[in-house]
Symmetry: C2
Subunit: 491 residues, 2 copies
């Protein structure tokens, strides 16, 4: 099960077109995804036309519609059994490979049960195995180490002082010692795989954008690409699954396609077209890796879809109605960009020079070297330089400065409601043809793997002692949601 | 062959969601289109990632990529045989049913050959039968009467004084007397069909938006719905085709889904969400009519796709990042709108009262009664009232005032490059599954109907005397395109 987070139809056209430009391919060359398009997924949640990633992933994992922010719980906030847990109960191996924090909404919805996505300290506990079912995951690769460190440690995000890196190797959970860098996960693992259960946490927060990994050797030494992680995961799970005669379930997420940046910037999405396109290209590579695996293993199936669109993204907009019917987009503007706006923003926030030096820094380092923009207007520069501009708006502004030069457009920092593309290949993939509710994808996995979500749900709910803390959190979360709802309908 | 002009993926989600709201259906109810989704079409033209409707339709009709603005000609401006012409050569009956001017880009690309879409006086001649192949079309329903009237007549758009309504009944062309109103095309025709060759021109310009037809009895008396026109066309062509043992080819276009308004407002697109949704709902009805026909006639196939997306349209945007992860859209705002912004703009332009009266008129007639907006801000009102606001911007502004209240977004007045949905049902429809170039749809029709486009192309090019005027126009058109290109890359 592959999830391309925040990846709408226009982003696929954009990714293909940029790839054709950057690799000198003809306009009619298909990407790895195009070759396996079979339909579309309708993405709404139980309480909104526009879903968030939590409800979107729970639709896949529990095959039910739930409220935005719900992680593996139904609309009443009660735990629902997931395909990962049920696969484990059938004796299969299970894995999660992502580029966000491993505790983020999508992987969490397969491996944890909390009433609000922000309860990531609890999510990490469940993922480690400290909840009703014990350890359910055999392989976890991604970011989010900060939720595994005690809050007495610098860089920790936990609300308590538990040290999950230490606890996880306890026989109760049985994890092997966590892998923390790309250098530890080296080429030998590409053939041999890793020891299960395997925990790889390659960043405190989300892993870096692929654009930054490509252009910064330090990042490349610390963080593997999604494609490398997936390659190792597939080999490991196949080998071990073959030995156990068990098979496996693996969830892969291209987590940062929608360019979410939520610890630092309060859940804004960057609207960063260069970071966006390089996440897409990396995802295309991963799709090819998984497709190769599926072809070599005829009893497997792969599905790729998105939880929702992000940004109201469009490409090739018309800058001026008088040029009709001529339209254009400028991939070369994107190709000049060498760093994500996220990284550039960090650099800007830590800059300490005088105002004059700051201006030079913005022009040279941020705009010219970073974004590849050499023709910024006075107005565009001034907004970035001004200490009064709110960081979240400067971040957006940087994305828009670049987007404008490529004739790309965005309508929102958030998600939108458009149906997303559905791709699949392998055994029984034809059954997913056409236009579906996102929950149909969950139903397909249940049927394909012969799972029993009801049995897992019953087991989770038999004794809800483990869920008390989470349930208590629910009232607070609901009250927060209601007051926010109230504000919005009050206008 | 059904073309939903300017209808992108987000518009289908929008149409479905509004329909579910307006008719009290559950969220998982599919529309007539959803049930037959089979893939996507890549829409680029030979000279742009973003196509216009002319190159978009020529990709279907001639099965080749050509430049934006090209009508039934290849990238060198040479005529290319169309599926309609080739079907005629095979002895089939042919038809065009649209809601734009019949001389507009999409129907023109099946039935005419000119180097620029603006040459609509020539297009009407070709459609009547005054070109190399003689009359090729057996049934034409739509708007665009102004290009059939001599320029000595009020309301004419022709560049010459030819009276095509009179000429068309000449035995040389053989058309029956043109049908000009909905009342002439009455219920008896729903069973009996009409006499072929049939010419129905129900408006001087584009036919009105369905929203306005629904809310204005005068329009409803003058103009049939697209669904009624299609119903009559199918019955007529089936009956006559059965008699001739010939079969038929019919091109249907929901021409105004992208809400283009190009005579009055210089090719802007309205970004009018209410007119947009009612064009979509009407199109859904037409799809059901055609699907019923295809099911009753197992040797037929129907295809529905778009030429391109319009507006960079998105739904359910996030008005404020702080409300994350709650999103909403407000269909009730759309339901309150009773008139298209096009009609409201006409009313505003013909208003002659004092400035104070104008202000009252804008608030009451335009905003409250027309758009259903009762909470317009001072700024929103002032821009509409000001005589200094350019009409094309006021038109857009009206659409945005309404869109904002529904949480809908647009990035452009023009088209965008996203792949569009591909729908099909009937004989051999499975061959169109997956992601395709738009020209593949032309190739499919050629193969399905066993056509020979090369033979028609050869016939068209055997003696290009008829094409001289058009060829002369080409140099001017190219020079216009080049200078516009120059301006744009000059920044």
């Amino acid at each position: 099960m592959m999830v391309s987070d925040g990846f709408g139809p226009a982003s696929q056209t954009y990714g293909r077109s940029y790839w054709q430009f950057a690799t000198n391919r003809t306009f009619n060359t298909q990407t790895s995804l195009d070759q396996i398009l079979i339909g579309a997924s309708r993405t709404r949640s139980s309480d909104s036309l526009v879903t968030d990633s939590a409800a979107g992933a729970t639709a896949f994992s529990c095959a039910l519609k739930t409220y935005n922010a719900a992680i593996g719980v139904d609309p009443e906030g009660t735990p629902c059994g997931t395909v990962l847990e049920s696969a484990k109960a059938q004796g299969m191996l299970t894995g999660l490979v992502v580029t966000s924090r491993i505790t983020h909404a999508t992987p969490a919805s397969f491996s944890a049960h909390v009433v609000h996505r922000d309860m990531e300290s609890d999510i990490a506990l469940h993922q480690m195995g400290d909840y009703a079912l014990g350890r359910q995951v055999d392989l976890m690769f991604g970011g989010g180490r900060c939720f595994f460190l005690p809050n007495t440690t610098e860089g920790s995000c936990r609300t308590d002082n538990r040290d999950l890196l230490a606890e996880s190797v306890d026989p109760k959970y049985g994890w092997n010692k966590a892998i923390l860098t790309r250098n530890e996960l080296n080429e030998t693992h590409l053939d041999a795989g890793v020891q299960l259960p395997a925990l790889g946490l390659f960043h405190l927060d989300h892993m870096n954008f692929n654009l930054d990994r490509m252009n910064d050797k330090k990042i490349a030494a610390e963080e593997p690409s999604l494609n490398m992680m997936v390659d190792i995961a597939l080999k490991t799970l196949k080998k071990a699954g073959f030995k156990n005669r068990s098979g496996f379930f693996l969830m892969i997420e291209g987590s940062r396609i929608g360019t979410v940046v939520d610890v630092v910037y309060m859940a804004a999405h960057n609207n960063d077209p260069a970071a966006h396109v390089h996440e897409i290209l990396q995802y295309h590579e991963v799709v090819q890796t998984v497709r190769n695996f599926v072809r070599d293993n005829p009893d497997t199936v792969m599905i790729s879809t998105s939880d929702h669109e992000t940004g109201g993204f469009t490409l090739g907009l018309q800058p001026d109605p008088h040029t009709y019917p001529d339209y254009m987009w400028r991939p070369e503007a994107i190709a000049r960009s060498k760093r994500s706006t996220e990284v550039l923003m960090h650099e800007l926030l830590s800059f300490t020079g005088t105002e004059k030096e700051r201006r030079t820094f913005v022009k040279r380092v941020i705009l010219e070297e970073g974004l590849g923009v050499t023709d910024a207007t006075e107005e565009e520069i001034a907004f970035i330089v001004s200490p009064e501009s709110p960081p979240v708006e400067v971040l957006q502004h940087l994305g828009h400065v670049l987007s404008k030069r490529a004739n790309l457009g965005w309508t929102t920092q958030g998600h939108t409601g458009v149906d997303v593309n559905l791709y699949a290949e392998g055994s029984q993939a034809d059954r997913l043809r056409g236009n579906h509710e996102n929950t149909d994808i969950g139903d397909f996995m249940v049927s394909f793997l012969d799972l029993n979500l009801e049995a897992i749900t019953a087991k989770l709910n038999a004794n809800l002692g483990w869920f008390k803390k989470t349930r208590d959190g629910f009232a607070a979360a609901v009250s927060k949601r209601d007051s926010s709802q109230h504000e919005k309908t009050g206008r």
